[in-house]
């Protein structure tokens, strides 16, 4: 550094850490000044950011509930063992009792060929068509209900274990639709990731643009600051904090919006569940997803600020012509 202060000027540089903290405190004060100067604009930007972030958050809640509902139904999964025609009713009933002895099996029910036909006649609406047949086309069935807490893999293992018995013609797991649902949920999850990516970019652009306008509006002030010796960092900080604040406010807003939506739907959802004899309660954003929404807002705000602020502040310079020009 060239110019030293005069001898009678005693400003001792304060401790580096204290000075650093002070700088940030001042930047926050300045950020609040920005907000106070344009509270509506700040709120509107935060609202746009919040609505934008709410979309992937709401989708996440949807998938989460679909996943939980379907896993609640998993307990209702049953395995059907279709028996060979040669197996007598007594043998079938005995087999049902044997299967029930399996530790992973909750209950079994033997349905004889005759009972199956009667059931089909009663429920299918094809009674007349059946009369045309010479003999009963239906096999005897053992319907097996696994223990409640079994995973899908475990249930499949139970099925395969007993399907190998000679009395069993073939076995079938009644959960194909569940497999499809899970595949669908995986797809939606992938879609959410993509949507979140696009939305992240949108939020960065929204916040970046807001800061660009703010810098434009404060051009004169920035020039004055530079004239009295403010470093680029000193001038940047309040704008960076404004970006962080906008992102955080957007995150809080998105969180509030989604939780309010869940709250509003809790009553109807509980009623709907009760119609199916379920006491399922709608799940909101878990703590991890909540943290994700807030941290996402924070990070996107920071990214938007970093992306714009330095670039645009560099352009606000008292006019300058270099040597030789």
């Amino acid at each position: 550094m060239a110019a030293k202060p005069r001898a009678q000027a005693p400003p001792r540089p304060p401790g580096a850490v204290r000075r650093w903290l002070r700088g940030h405190r001042q930047a926050i004060a300045q950020t609040l000044r920005h907000v106070r100067a344009a509270p509506l604009g700040t709120l509107l930007t935060a609202a746009v950011v919040g609505l934008t972030l709410a979309l992937p958050a709401a989708l996440h809640v949807l998938v989460r509930n679909a996943g939980e509902v379907s896993s609640a139904w998993q307990g209702a999964v049953q395995v059907s063992f279709y028996l060979e025609d040669a197996v007598s009713a007594a043998e079938g009933a005995a087999l049902a009792a044997t299967l029930k002895a399996d530790a992973q099996v909750n209950d079994t029910r033997y349905i004889s060929r005759e009972a199956a036909l009667a059931e089909f006649r009663a429920h299918s609406g094809f009674a007349n068509a059946l009369d045309l047949l010479d003999e009963n086309p239906l096999p005897a069935v053992i319907v097996l209900t696994p223990e409640d807490d079994l995973s899908r893999e475990a249930i499949t293992a139970v099925m395969q274990r007993h399907a190998a018995r000679p009395e069993v013609a073939f076995a079938k797991l009644d959960q194909q639709w569940l497999e499809r649902l899970h595949a669908l949920l995986r797809l939606v999850n992938r879609a959410i990731t993509l949507v979140a990516l696009g939305i992240g970019i949108a939020v960065i652009i929204i916040i970046g643009n807001t800061l660009r306008l703010e810098i434009e509006r404060r051009r004169d002030e920035i020039v004055v600051m530079k004239l009295i010796g403010a470093s680029a960092r000193f001038i940047q900080r309040p704008f960076l904090y404004t970006g962080v604040l906008l992102g955080l406010m957007g995150g809080v807003l998105a969180w509030t919006l989604v939780q309010a939506l869940v709250l509003a739907l809790t009553g109807p959802a509980a009623y709907f569940a009760s119609l199916y004899g379920s006491d399922y309660a709608l799940a909101g954003l878990g703590w991890d997803a909540s943290l994700g929404v807030l941290a996402g807002g924070l990070m996107l705000g920071t990214a938007g600020a970093l992306w714009t602020v330095k670039r645009h502040l560099a352009g606000v310079e008292p006019r300058f012509s270099g040597p030789g020009s």
Partner: protein, 233 residues
Amino acid sequence: MNPPLVEFERVTHRYPGGHDVLTDASLRLNLGEMAFLTGASGAGKSTLLKLIARLEVANRGQVRVNGQNVAALAPRHVPDYRQHLGLIFQQFNLLYDRSVFDNVALPLRIQGHADHDIARRVRAALDSVGLLNKAAVMPIRLSGGEQQRVGVARAVVTRPLLILADEPTGNLDHDTALGVMDLFQRYNRAGVSLLIATHAEELIEQIEGYRVFHLDGGHLSLHPSGKALRHGR
């Protein structure tokens, strides 16, 4: 004799596409000296001050402040350098979103001083311009003369090496302008160095005992202030 604080050594400067604003101009301002810079509109007074503040860089020649060639300063050291200057502007350049106190405190905050230190110095600076009772007021509610005094307080509050004033009385009436000039003289008696650009020669004629640099056609000439200024040319 005092060592030179500001030295122009055969400085030539022109803006892109323009004519030479300064041609082989040399100047010495001593430490602790107060001097005036005069010249017609467009003569290059502001340009000369900008060269000192490193808002412009001379095409040829050297501008030295405290022995340092300011053109050689790395851009990242320019803010530090400017913190040793006090700049006063014709349009005051105050920030209108904060109080008089906060305006004057700004350079100290930029330098990272502690709050109690800032409060003490701001009060002293405001006291010296007679505006201590307006500390909490927003600058928009002040008269032009009062606003310029806030600008002066902001420039002196850091106890700068050198005060550069560009047309500081340009927006003030005669009596108010004399008041500001009186302030400058008081600071100078306390040891502050000042370079004051103005085309208000009628003001300088009323102040005896300072040097006047006159800019004309890119060249500098030296005159005494006071009544002799009129008779000298």
